[in-house]
Structures are given as C-alpha cells and as structure tokens.
Symmetry: C2
Subunit: 302 residues, 2 copies
C-alpha cells in the first residue's frame, strides 16, 4: 500500500478558445491543484508562437505534459487537429489526438457531423459533453445543451456523442447589440422576467426575422419599456433556439430532460426558456464535465 502523500501536479489541461483561456493544473487522479483564467485566447496570440507561449505557461504552472482543447486546434490556432466524425467516443477522440510536441503536448480534435444534408462542427465542446456522461453527471443516454455564442445541442447514446446541432444564438444577440435597428435598448440587463418569457412565447413558430422587427415596433409604439427590451430580445433568440430543437431532433427530450451545461446565469435563461416551452431541464456543472472529459482522454493516451 502506498503511503499517503501530498498530491503532485501531473498535467496541464488547457481549455483554449478564441477569446479566453482556462488552465487547470491537475494531479494524476484528476484533482484540481490550481486554476487560472485569462483572455489569452488564440485571437490574442497576435503572431506570438504557440510553442513559446506553451513554454511560458510551463514556466508559470510547472514543467508538465499539456493537453489542449478548443479553437487552439483550428486552422487559426497552434495546429489544425482535424475532426472526428460523429458518432464519437472518448476513445475515438484519444486515438485521433494531434501531438504538437510528441509525448509532451497534444491537441484534442473536434467532432463533425455531415448527414441528411446538414453539416455541423464543434471544437472543445466534445470534451464537456463526453466528460459529463463519463463522469455520470448525466446518464449514458442523454440530451445536452451548451448555451453560448454558438449554442450546442447534443445527443449522447451509450456514452457516445451521436449527433449535435449548433445555433448562432449568442452571436446574433451580440451583433444586434453592436449596431442597427435593435441596438437601442439591448444594453439593458437580461433576466428571466415576464418580458423574457413573452419573447420565448413569441419565438414559437420560427419567424425570427419578423419577431426581431416586431420587438423594435413594440418599443416605438410604447408597448414595451426600454428597460425590458434586452430581456425580450434575448427571450426571442433563446426561445427560437429552444423551440427549433424541441420541434425537431430534440422532440423526445420533452419526455426526458435536457441537461444544460453552463454557468447559472446563462444556463438559468435556457432553463427558463425550456420550462416556458414545456420541457424539463436541469443545470450541470460544465467545469466538472470538462475536467472529467480531459482527464479521461489523458488516461487513454498513457
């Protein structure tokens, strides 16, 4: 029997996206020893070499093996780590790992789907999705949603990622806030309110382009206050996203449950929208899911 000892750092797990980067210093058993988040996403590299950046990270967090997930594996990142075709398992992803520094630094490939005339891709989210199932945070047969700039909706079956759909929900909301007809009012607070839920209900039926103009018209005609506008438009967009899923491939999730991997703030809005549309949903800890996924991929590489 091994004597008890202080846990030693064994791995740097890096969730390296376009705008943000999160580093986890992990023990061999997956325990988080240290974590840090900064805005050194791949778009902030600005010509600095990724290998040099990795050396800087090791100087700070320890000279350890490094496993990276996210947009760092895109053609604008360190190296294009490609895609594994769905249905995808953790084993298939581990088998397709892209070593940038052999035995020492690896990038996790994304997942693609292309059938029924519909193409889709993800890069980074697969770690959370499969990790949630592997860690038992969701059942081995589950419906999952990851809200965000590009919201992902995924089906897990027998622990494998069998299909998914991405919606531009968060990006469209951000673009509408930056300028154009609807920008006036979108700087307000978004919260689960009567206005938010009215937006969700107005989204039913899939006429988003008219719904968005109607949001402006209602404000101009004094039917909705400026303070409620951001919540209403957010409800319209999140509602459009949720309604399209529940009227489409996610229809069986109504009888089951949707697992929302997100922070309580954004996740709460999706829970509210799904509730408004008659669907049972729960929040799942997305950091736990990411850590479970990346440590399992790492163990498959040993």
């Amino acid at each position: 029997m091994e004597p008890e000892r202080t846990l030693e750092a064994a791995l740097l797990a890096v969730d390296w996206g376009s705008t943000n980067r999160r580093v986890f210093v992990l023990a061999a058993n997956g325990t988080v020893l240290e974590t840090a988040q900064d805005s050194q996403g791949i778009l902030a590299m600005d010509g600095r070499g990724f290998a040099a950046e990795a050396a800087t990270m090791r100087a700070r967090w320890g000279d350890l093996p490094m496993l990276c997930a996210g947009m760092v594996g895109s053609n604008r990142g360190w190296a294009d780590a490609g895609y594994v075709a769905a249905p995808a398992s953790l084993a298939a992803i581990a088998a397709a790992i892209h070593w940038v520094e052999p035995g020492r630094t690896a990038i996790i490939p994304g997942v693609s789907r292309d059938s029924d005339g519909r193409a889709d891709i993800m890069r980074g989210e697969e770690v959370q999705l499969l990790g949630a199932a592997a860690a038992g945070l969701v059942s081995a047969d589950a419906w999952l949603c990851q809200p965000g700039t590009h919201a992902k909706w995924a089906r897990i079956q027998d622990g494998n990622l069998t299909d998914f759909t991405t919606a531009m929900t968060g990006e469209i909301f951000a673009q509408l806030g930056r300028g154009g007809l609807l920008a006036d009012g979108l700087d307000g607070e978004v919260r689960d309110s009567a206005a938010f839920r009215q937006g969700v209900q107005a989204a039913r039926g899939g006429d988003l382009l008219a719904g968005l103009f109607g949001a402006r018209a209602a404000m101009v005609l004094g039917k909705r206050s400026r303070a409620d506008q951001a919540s209403y438009v957010s409800g319209l967009l999140i509602g459009s996203d949720c309604d399209a899923r529940l009227e489409g491939d996610f229809a069986p999730a109504r009888a089951d449950r949707v697992n929302v991997l997100a922070s309580p703030a954004l996740g709460g809005l999706y829970l509210a929208a799904l509730d408004e549309l008659g669907c049972n949903a729960r929040l799942v800890d997305s950091h736990k899911a990411f850590l479970a996924g990346i440590t399992r991929i790492w163990s498959l590489l040993q």
Copy 2:
C-alpha cells in the same frame, strides 16, 4: 377647351429615407419632369436644419410645394409625423398629414398595426403599397412584398392597406457580413444559383439560427465553396423570410400571387425564393407605385 401647353412643375415629391433621398419634380398630372437621387438621407443631415435643407432643394428644383415620405417623418427626422393605424387608406393618410410649413411642405405619416399581440410599423412604404393598388399596378385585393433592409409584406383589400409584417432580412445579412463567424465568404456575389436555392430549401421549417451556423460548417468541411457562400446565406435568409410568410398570414397568396415591389436585382432573388417555395410571384415597378401614391395623396390635400 384648354390649349395644349408645355407641362409646368407643380410638386416636389421626396422619398426621404435614413440613408438615401430621391426627389421627383412632378407636373400637376403626375408626369415626372426631373428626378435626382443622392445620399442626403436624414442621418446625413448632421444637425443641418431640415427647413434650410428644404430651401436648398427649392433653390435647385423650383419654388414648389413639397410632399415628403419616409424616415424624414420619424422622431429622428424633420418632425414626427406619427402613424395611421391599419387598416389604412390613402384618404386616411392624407387626413393625418403633418404640415411642417403650412400649405407648403408636408410629411406623410407612417402606418402601424397592433393586434393579436403583434406590433409593427412602416414609414414610407405605405405610399408605394397603396399607390400600386390605386394605379392598378396590382389589383385592389393583393399580396405585396417590398424586399430590403426591413422587408415589408402587406395585404391590400378593397384598395386599403389592411395588414403587414416586417422582417429584418436585409439587415441581418448586412450585419453577418460586417463581422463574426460568417463574414468570411459573404463579400461574394449573390445571385439566383443552385447555392441560393439550396439556402432557400434549407430555410424551410424555421430553424434559422442553426441554419446559419450550418452554412459555416459546410464551408469548413469543404461541402460548399467560398464563392457560393454569399448566395447560400442570402438564400437562407430570404428563404426564411418567404417561408415564414407562406406558412403564416401569406398562406392564401400561394393560390393567388405575390407582387414584389423592388429593383430587378433584389426583386429577382425574392421571385426565385418564392418560386422555390411553390408560390407564384411577379415584379412590380416600385418607382411607378411610389409616384402614383404620392400624387394621389397630394391631390387629396388640394
């Protein structure tokens, strides 16, 4: 009997929008004696007084009565000309005219609708819509569409504008081209092509948020060329707009016909999308419609 004589200028009709302005010098019988278009929309006034601008226009085109339509009648224009509630006739609009220089310069009010929980507004389009019916360019009972930044879909019954819906179609396309995930490829030419029609078909069912991301995924996976991307995304947006109308209030138009008031270029895309969705449509001269509407409103003011 009056002797024949050269037509004299009788009215300056001004289609004064946010970014563009079009001036028509008209004879009393509606004949166009001169026309000019510039980029002196209301957003270009930059603090210059509208009264002073009107004086400049009269110095150039003649010291005539002036009748203005469009965003010049908004709270960011010369004066807020308000809205006439639909159903609206040319007579109701003339009765609600807003005189900024009594007997000499007037602004046409917009039209609003607010029932069944749906608010909508227009300002300027009502002149074309009602003018098209008044001039017999469309029948007194017709379905009309005005493509653009904010596409209008309208129902004319007994020559009155009874209902309408606005969709943010053109604005969303413009915003997607200015930045974000889809901007790469949207600088290409948009034309009625196989890619455009694939976009229209993909729009069926009303899942625009996922369709937009799928457009990017297809390009990344090499399923669509960069050269086809703008046409596909335009097809997706115009298709979403048309499909929502034909699945909603415009459903009876399938058995009738949609009258598209637009330039041949943009109008042609809407004709193609409507055709792809099984709806008969035709192009109507939007300038003729505008002139017919504004001269009739002027005659009602005499």
